[in-house]
Every structure is written in structure tokens, then in C-alpha cells.
């Protein structure tokens, strides 16, 4: 098994890496680059805990091989906080009590970010569709949907 070289940009910073080809994007982000906001849940593309934004679209990073992420631009939850503090979506999740154990939160927030990019004023049903690939095993879904509504409101203002 020959190692492969990949270039990728994570949170606006570019990296050059030499990795085993059987690593997933998830492994590269968490273990090689220490972006531990990316969580491994089910590992089979169902739970969405490993969600990142890849070239503008949300993906399960456990379902992308490291080599397939070559030359792509990745956004993880670590990118959201700026000098001005937390991102409105992060604030909304805290204010709405949408974080219990917190394991699903980074994935939920990234799915929310992309949902609100496409639809700045989603209905509760559209929010459920937008977040359908993210599971919360504490089952705090109501608060999460409230948080997305709150974030949408904050971002429109």
C-alpha cells in the first residue's frame, strides 16, 4: 500500500500531507490535523456527526477517502468562530438549549450553515429535511429546530 500525497485546504489554510490511502477524510481531519470538532459516530454515513463542508456541500467525512478530498476546500466547525466571537448559529444553539451531550452539535451546526445559505427563512418542516442526515441521540430535536429558527432570525437581521 503506497502512501499518497494530497493537498487540501481546511478552514482557509492549506496543508500538504502524505497519508495511507485507506484513511478517510475524517481520519485526516481528526487525527492528522487535530480538528477534533469532527466526530466519528456510526462510521457508515448515517449519523452525520462527522459532517464537514467540502467544496460548498455538506458531506459525511467518514464516507470520503483521503485521496478523494485532494485539492478540495474543507470547512469544519472550528472555522465558525471569528474575532467577533461565536457565529450566530453557535450562539443560537446555546441560547435555545440545543446542546446536551454535544457530540452531534458540530455536524448539526454545519448542516444548519448550509441550509441557511440555501434558504434564509426555512419552515420547521424544511429544517427537519435540511438536518435529516444528523442524528441527536439525546433526542433534543425540538430545541435544535428552535435553534435553527433563532439562528435564521439572527442572520437575517
Amino acid at each position: 500500500m503506497q502512501k499518497i500525497e494530497i493537498n487540501l485546504t481546511v478552514n482557509q489554510r492549506s496543508y500538504e500531507l502524505k497519508v495511507k490511502p485507506n484513511k478517510r477524510l475524517l481520519d485526516v481531519l481528526r487525527n492528522d490535523l487535530n480538528f477534533t470538532g469532527v466526530k466519528e459516530g456510526c462510521g457508515i454515513g448515517e449519523c452525520g456527526a462527522c459532517t464537514v463542508i467540502m467544496d460548498g456541500e455538506i458531506v459525511n467525512s467518514c464516507m470520503v477517502l483521503a485521496g478523494q478530498a485532494r485539492d478540495s476546500e474543507i470547512i469544519t466547525v472550528e472555522d465558525l468562530e471569528s474575532e467577533n466571537g461565536l457565529h450566530p448559529i453557535q450562539k443560537a444553539f446555546i441560547d435555545a438549549g440545543a446542546v446536551q451531550c454535544g457530540f452531534c452539535t458540530p455536524g448539526m451546526i454545519l448542516s444548519t450553515l448550509n441550509l441557511l445559505k440555501e434558504n434564509s427563512n426555512p419552515t420547521r418542516s424544511e429544517i427537519k429535511d435540511g438536518l435529516e442526515g444528523n442524528f441527536c441521540r439525546c433526542t433534543g430535536y425540538k430545541q435544535i429546530i428552535d435553534a435553527v429558527e433563532l439562528a435564521a432570525e439572527m442572520m437575517r437581521d
Binding site: 487525527n31 464516507m63 477517502l65 442526515g133 442524528f135
Partner: protein
């Protein structure tokens, strides 16, 4: 904890021709990876004992398109489900495929999973395949030496067993555009609303002529037979006739009988028999415009 996938060498061809050459060179020792949403799960299970090389087609723009070509719509194999659900062409000329693809997995899966992958995996419950069967889709397969076309209905030997050789690549799927005199629908029954495989799905198309008789009817139930297929003997019951509730009732019963003939009496039959009967009736009422 790091979960490792089975070992392989990773090849990333620059273009489609090179992908075919690599497949030919590493015949029997290689597999294609597209969106990876099925394959990576299998790599965790170390399912492929002869696998030495993965050939990645995810950077090949040549395989990513939805285009109109005369009376046909052609879709490249590396086109993801999200692109299909957002496509005006598909929505206009083959709405049942829009409906099917929008039911697959989750937004994350639809952003990566491809129509080619869904066809090649060959799950009997694949939500893009049932509509493609109703659309009489043709798939285009190519190796270094030759190119062939197969109707999708003839492409499977059984569940998860597509008839494709180790040196062949699925290039495209295409089907005839439907004019707006066709009614179509797709229904999926699932255990929960999100990220769910179909327990049963069904796609149907119908066209009624000027005299109110059935000019065309295509009925494709999924997950109830080992391979996807139109139920032509059921379609015949209503073809050329004026559709009514009595015929539709008979058709629903017949679909359930055929399911048991083809799949045997299984643990799920008690459940699936009334459900497929009623789904068939419901979809036929829609596509044949019966009150």
C-alpha cells in the same frame, strides 16, 4: 480509536480513457470508487479479498452531466443525487426520477452518492433504480476494447449482482423524455422518515389516450423481487382499456401474488402483501387518473 479500512493502492486517473486503461491493466484486482457511500462501508468490513487497487472517478468531469440529446435525457454515471433532484431537465421530463433520488439517504449522502453507484450496487430497494426501470432506461457500459448498451431491466442477475465485467465501467444512463401527457409517481415506504432504506418502493407511469383508454402503463415495484423489473403481466390487464377501480383492485392483488411467486413466502410477506397491494392501487389511481 482509528478504524481502518482494508488496504488498497489508490489510483486517480486524469481522464475517462485512463480510467478504462487502468481497469483493463488491473483486471480483477481493482474496483471503481465514485461517491463511495456504499463502497466505503464494504471496505470497513474487508469484504474484497482480491482488491489491490481502487480507481477513483470522483475527479472526472467527463462523467458528471445531465443533458438533453434529441428525444433523450442522458445522465453521466458520476452525477450525484442532489444534482439530479435539482435538475430542471429531469424534473420536466422524468419527474419520477426526481422523486426517487430525493428519497435517497440524507443531504450528505445525496451530495456524494451517484446514480452510477446506485445502479452498480444493485440493491433491490435502490430508490433511483425503480424509476429508471419505469423509464425503460438504457445503461451504457464501456471497457478499453468495447462499448455496449443494456436495458436496465436486463442488467441484474439478482440482488447486488449487476452484470458488469471487472474491466468495464458504467458510463451513462439514458432514457426517452416523457411528454406532459404522462402522469407519473413514486412512493416509498420506510421504517422512519429520515435516512431510511425503502421497505418497499414503487414507480409508475401512465398515459391515457383521447378516448380515455390506457395507451401506456409502466409499473415498477422495488424491494419485493430479487431484481428490479416492470410487472408487464399486470400492466396488460389495463392496457387499451378504460381504467376503473375494479381493474385497479385486480392489479393490486396480482402484484402481491407475483411478489410471492418470485420471492417466496418470507417472514415479511404478511406485511408486504397488503402493503404492496394497496400501494399499487394508490399509485395506479394517480397515474391513470381514476377517482
Amino acid at each position: 480509536m482509528v478504524i481502518l479500512l482494508q488496504e488498497f493502492n489508490f489510483l486517480q486517473p486524469e481522464n475517462y480513457r485512463e480510467a478504462l486503461n487502468l481497469l483493463n491493466e488491473y483486471h480483477g484486482k481493482s474496483k471503481i470508487i465514485a461517491g463511495g457511500t456504499d463502497l466505503i462501508v464494504d471496505l470497513r468490513k474487508e469484504k474484497y479479498t482480491d482488491l489491490k487497487y481502487l480507481i477513483d472517478i470522483s475527479k472526472l468531469d467527463e462523467l458528471e452531466y445531465i443533458k438533453e440529446d434529441g428525444e433523450y435525457i442522458k445522465i453521466g454515471s458520476y452525477t450525484n443525487h442532489k444534482s439530479i433532484t435539482k435538475s430542471d431537465l429531469v424534473n420536466k421530463y422524468a419527474k419520477i426520477l426526481t422523486l426517487g433520488c430525493s428519497e435517497i439517504g440524507s443531504p450528505q449522502i445525496r451530495n456524494r452518492g451517484t446514480i452510477g453507484g446506485n445502479i452498480i450496487t444493485g440493491s433491490p430497494c435502490a430508490d433511483s433504480v425503480t424509476p429508471l426501470v419505469a423509464l425503460n432506461a438504457i445503461i451504457v457500459i464501456e471497457s478499453k476494447e468495447q462499448k455496449r448498451e443494456v436495458p436496465i431491466e436486463e442488467f441484474y442477475e439478482g440482488p447486488y449482482r449487476p452484470k458488469i465485467k471487472a474491466n468495464e465501467l458504467l458510463k451513462e444512463v439514458y432514457f426517452k423524455k416523457l411528454d406532459n401527457s404522462y402522469q407519473g409517481d413514486f412512493i416509498k415506504v420506510k421504517r422512519r422518515n429520515a435516512v431510511s432504506k425503502a421497505r418497499i418502493n414503487i414507480a409508475a407511469l401512465g398515459k391515457i389516450d383521447q378516448a380515455g383508454k390506457v395507451f401506456d402503463i409502466r409499473l415498477a415495484p422495488g424491494s419485493i423481487t430479487p431484481k428490479p423489473q416492470r410487472f408487464k403481466s399486470v400492466e396488460e390487464l389495463v392496457k387499451g382499456r378504460e381504467p376503473d377501480n375494479e381493474i385497479i383492485e385486480k392489479m393490486g392483488q396480482k402484484v402481491a401474488e407475483i411478489m410471492i411467486d418470485k420471492s417466496g413466502y418470507r417472514w415479511s410477506t404478511e406485511y408486504k402483501r397488503p402493503v404492496i397491494r394497496d400501494l399499487t392501487k394508490r399509485i395506479l389511481k394517480t397515474v391513470l387518473e381514476v377517482e
